[in-house]
Symmetry: C2
Subunit: 247 residues, 2 copies
């Protein structure tokens, strides 16, 4: 029996909830998790509010193998992620020596003042480990199974690249897609039968609507190539049968 590795994501930021910024990190994390065989099971978008962040972190870190957060780790007053994560774990949030030295050197080299605000970016929960940020130095961090990363997409992506090699990964969920020129109303019945006959697969039906008519993308998922193949052939012959019947 292969271990199933699960994950959840917490997107932190009023700017996403107000619509001002359109999130681009959820889709990226989803793609990466699927590629490496981790099941992303839940995503929450919460506001810049300590109680909301603490609740989400504590709910999800106990339920899933990994939690990934984005947003709120910059130097301004509305960046409260580090404090909130520390509170969720019941540990102090304090200057991390290594991060402080790293940031201090970075600003000294550029002849830029290491302001109180900038120093804020060196704060993290006691016991956290860095996640390197080659783009703009200020690190993310990991504490237990929670990975805390930046919200700016280019920085998030590079931090995630550094995290991926450290994760346990499961057996990749394989998938096949069958294009179906019919709407869901016609295929729903037979598709239910195929799903019942192949309990080790997950068969998804995704309706697409274009220019007044529906078509459907049928996605068959399984961890075993043989199981996947058998179910996919049945789905394909169901679609072919319908096409012949309506031609």
């Amino acid at each position: 029996m292969t271990e199933i590795i699960t994950a959840a994501m917490i997107v932190i930021g009023d700017e996403i909830l107000s619509g001002r910024t359109k999130d681009r990190n959820i889709g990226h994390l989803a793609d990466v998790m699927t590629a490496i065989g981790i099941d992303l099971k839940e995503v929450r978008i919460v506001s810049d509010d300590e109680a909301d962040i603490v609740e989400a972190v504590n709910a999800l870190r106990q339920r899933y193998t990994y939690v990934f957060t984005t947003g709120g780790i910059g130097p301004t007053h509305d960046d409260i992620t580090a404090d909130s994560i520390a509170k969720a774990f019941g540990v102090p949030c304090e200057y991390d020596e290594k991060a402080f030295a790293l940031l201090g050197a970075h600003y000294a080299q550029r002849g830029v003042e290491f302001t109180e605000s900038r120093k804020r970016m060196a704060r993290m929960p006691r016991g956290a480990e860095h996640i390197d940020n080659p783009v703009s130095v200020a690190p993310g961090f990991r504490i237990d199974n929670v990975h805390v990363m930046a919200g700016v997409p280019s920085i998030f992506q590079t931090m995630l690249d550094n995290v991926v090699p450290t994760l346990r990964t499961g057996q990749k969920l394989l998938s096949e897609t069958v294009h179906c020129p019919f709407g869901e109303g016609l295929i729903g019945g037979p598709l239910t039968e195929i799903q019942k006959a192949h309990p080790d697969t997950i068969i998804g039906s995704y309706p697409k609507y274009l220019d007044g008519s529906f078509w459907t993308e049928l996605v068959i998922r399984a961890r075993s190539p043989e199981v996947l193949d058998a179910a996919t052939r049945e789905v394909q012959s169901m679609v072919d049968g319908l096409a012949a019947a309506t031609a």
Copy 2:
């Protein structure tokens, strides 16, 4: 004291969590809520799993004025939203007479068989009211403060257009944006002071990273135009002062 109206959203669908489909409904709902003065406070993306949907619905409907869901109301076996919402409310999920007649007439007119799968789309929790779907007839529904809508973006948007006039709306949160050519490290300190001096505003700082350097978008939000104006002027003069000092 103006009433604050809050909302949460639940996006239902494995296809979003796997990355196969990129969500386009969260940003749209966020924009619409902001435009009509409702505070979107939380979004959850959950899989096609009854227990997960029931838990999210029951957690959020008690906490916020309104809940909006997208996805899982089609005719196939993986469309379990109606059953899950009924379970969350502890009522039966059954054929709705009006929806059944509406769908029956629609398919009869097109000479299309009203299959068992298509009949599924007429099922909803007892006591639910329709949300009209001019695109493809099958209605969404509202039960208590929970609005259940389609996941296909064009259908979701037209359903939401039908829902908006039925909502109580609050006083719109006004906003002003100040472009700041400096990174957050430089402005964090003074910005914290301005936020403290203007407690009835929410000042957000959104770092942008382009071609190796940071700039920042500063967004000031308040319900009163006078309060907004006073804080915005202080933020603008802070930025102007920094520009003069570094020129």
